[in-house]
């Protein structure tokens, strides 16, 4: 194990940790929705991607400033999140989770196909900031755009925590996720809370999608499946329903992915990430921060 290999390893880990924040955001989105509804929204990654494309349309047609593009991506994804809620979760029976699950898979395919049709399946350039800035710490380089991605995701998480723990809406959300019937008896409109959660989770997904595209520099429909699968793995590793778990899981998956990329190459990378998931499932099925009792 020589010096350069060691440097490469640290470099990969740092890049992975910075990029892992986008996985953490996606994981938080899955966890939030699971928390209030006890249901899995598989259309989430696709909604995030579609929102990112809304931002891209602004960039291509009006040559908008990156900040506006990112904002439009986040808000667009939030709006699509609401549509997903209305189409897949609002009117399907609550006691039959298979219905909403399959409906969200249908929505995933639908959104994916709409995006592929609109973009003709081609990758488009996506605006990025601080592309040329590089911070050098000894032999390790930290890319400015990755640092920006990291910073944006941390800000988004901070705002989410403020929303959840310092506002009445957050109180209502946490109440519904603990005990829906009791929350309803206290006068909380569960449907409204569910809708708000889908909107907020959608915005987080849009930010994650925009940041992924900004870090890669191009946007293509392929990333929807990556976001979905990686987000789900993050959630399982962190523990379904736990926000700190999603953050740690996201960083872990981001770092692991980059290390495997360095060690085994791009085609085998994801196999090892999936293996990581299986190790967690066998040894610690509840995830890192999961509670012992799980309802579904």
């Amino acid at each position: 194990m020589d010096y350069f290999f060691f440097i490469d390893l640290i470099q990969s880990t740092v890049d992975g940790l910075l990029f892992g924040t986008t996985y953490a955001l996606i994981g938080i989105g899955f966890t939030l929705i699971f928390g209030v509804m006890r249901k899995l929204n598989l259309a989430y990654g696709a909604a995030a991607l579609a929102g990112t494309y809304i931002g891209l349309v602004l960039f291509l047609t009006f040559d908008a400033h990156p900040a506006i593009v990112f904002l439009a991506s986040a808000l667009g994804s939030g709006a699509i999140g609401l549509v997903v809620y209305l189409c897949c979760f609002r009117f399907t029976p609550t006691h039959y989770p298979m219905a909403s699950l399959l409906a969200s898979v249908g929505m995933l395919l639908f959104i994916d196909e709409v995006v592929i049709h609109a973009s003709h399946g081609l990758p488009y350039p996506y605006p990025s900031v601080f592309r040329d800035a590089i911070i050098e710490a000894g032999d390790i380089w930290i890319r400015g755009d990755l640092l920006f991605v990291f910073f944006m995701c941390v800000v988004a998480m901070a705002i989410l925590f403020w929303l959840l723990y310092r506002t009445p809406l957050g109180l209502a959300t946490r109440a519904v996720s603990q005990q829906p019937r009791a929350a309803q008896l206290c006068g909380i409109d569960v449907t409204r809370v569910n809708m708000m959660t889908f909107g907020i989770a959608g915005i987080l997904g849009g930010i994650a999608g925009a940041m992924t595209a900004a870090a890669v520099g191009v946007l293509s429909p392929v990333i929807a499946m990556g976001l979905t699968v990686k987000g789900l793995i993050v959630v399982v590793i962190g523990g379904l329903g736990s926000i700190p778990g999603a953050i740690i899981g996201g960083l872990l998956v981001g770092a692991a992915e980059n290390i495997f990329l360095l060690l085994r190459g791009v085609t085998e990378r994801d196999i090892y990430v999936m293996l990581l998931l299986f190790i967690f499932l066998t040894l610690r099925p509840g995830g890192l921060f999961g509670s012992a009792q799980t309802r579904d």
């Binding site: 699971f34 249901k39 899995l40 598989l42 189409c87 897949c88 009117f91 399907t92 029976p93 609550t94 006691h95 039959y96 989770p97 298979m98 219905a99 909403s100 699950l101 399959l102 409906a103 898979v105 249908g106 929505m107 995933l108 395919l109 639908f110 959104i111 994916d112 196909e113 709409v114 049709h117 829906p180 019937r181 499946m225 699968v229 789900l232 793995i233 959630v235 399982v236 379904l240 085609t267 085998e268 994801d270 196999i271 999936m274 293996l275 998931l277 299986f278 499932l281 066998t282 099925p285 799980t294 579904d296």
Partner: protein, 304 residues
């Protein structure tokens, strides 16, 4: 005429895929791994005939049993987690299998050319049917005999105690456990049976298309697999068959003039169907009014 026979082949193969998901769904588990099992079956059966010169029938049986073994091994860790987590675990397993075959290269020389799976290029020249002079209607007949045997077996299982056990676990795990059923054994058993059917389906599929590659076995195929029984309803095996005929015969082939827009329709159809008839076309055998009442009771119980 050949076109319709070809369509019948597709319907037959997809029916096997749907039935494999049907068995697992009876126990209340949603498995997105069926496309992965299908891939294993396809590659194994193709390797048996093209590389080692097996006859198609033993090749498919080998594929079925091997896939069943894999499903059993996967079932144990995956079924430690319930419901929604299982979806994630099986989704990851399916992707893992696909990526494995994306990286898998093992070729042997046979008849002057290299034959075998070749990484991203896939597995070419699985020519058992043309080499042995099978006509297209022979192949179609063969597929439908297999489908009929599998459907008959599942129909028979459904009407024995085993079927009742599967459904009991699917309806209420706690109740099933309290009458002395071993949940893990039932679920892993269903997973194994599902894996075997998917493996056989995959083996036949590989021989009808003669060229397989990893891209075919993605999440879309896994979605098709669970969509057939859920859209068709878990009441009986015929629900799955009807759903396959509708989707493959009408939606994919009948609406060919719509071009790529058909895949949009598939997603939209699932969303619509789940909103208007969430239990599928042929729901489980209960009068609807009675079902609705128990549904409300369940909802009340769930909140506690």
């Amino acid at each position: 005429m050949d076109f319709y026979l070809g369509l019948l082949q597709i319907i037959g193969v997809h029916t096997l895929l749907g039935l494999s998901a049907y068995v697992v769904l009876l126990t209340g588990q949603v498995s997105m791994a069926q496309a992965g099992f299908y891939a294993i079956g396809a590659y194994v059966a193709a390797m048996c005939t093209a590389m080692f010169g097996f006859h198609i029938l033993p090749a498919i049986l080998v594929a079925g049993f091997l896939t069943a073994a894999v499903a059993c091994v996967v079932g144990f860790p995956a079924l430690r987690v319930k419901g929604l987590m299982l979806v994630v675990a099986t989704l990851a397993f399916g992707e893992m299998v696909r990526l494995f075959f994306f990286n898998f290269t093992w070729q042997v020389e046979r008849g002057g050319e290299l034959i075998g799976p070749n990484g991203a290029e896939g597995f070419r020249a699985i020519r058992f049917f043309p080499e042995n002079g099978w006509e297209i209607w022979h192949v179609t007949g063969f597929i439908w005999i297999v489908v009929a045997v599998v459907m008959g077996a599942l129909w028979w299982i459904d009407n024995t105690r085993a079927g009742a056990v599967l459904r009991a676990v699917g309806h209420d795990e706690t109740a099933a456990q309290s009458i002395g059923l071993n949940l893990t054994a039932v679920k892993v058993g269903a997973m194994t049976l599902g894996g075997m059917i998917a493996g056989m389906g995959g083996g036949i599929y590989a021989h009808t298309v003669t060229h397989i590659e990893h891209l075919v076995f993605g999440v879309l195929l896994a979605t098709f697999a669970i969509a057939y029984p859920i859209l068709g309803g878990l009441g009986s095996v015929f629900g799955t068959l009807i759903a396959v005929i509708f989707i493959q015969g009408f939606l994919v082939e009948g609406l060919r003039f719509l071009g790529d827009w058909r895949s949009l329709l598939f997603g939209a159809l699932i969303v619509l169907a789940m909103n208007f008839r969430p239990t599928g076309l042929l729901g489980e055998r209960m009068p609807r009014i009675f079902k609705r009442r128990t549904g409300e009771k369940l909802e009340l119980k769930e909140a506690e």
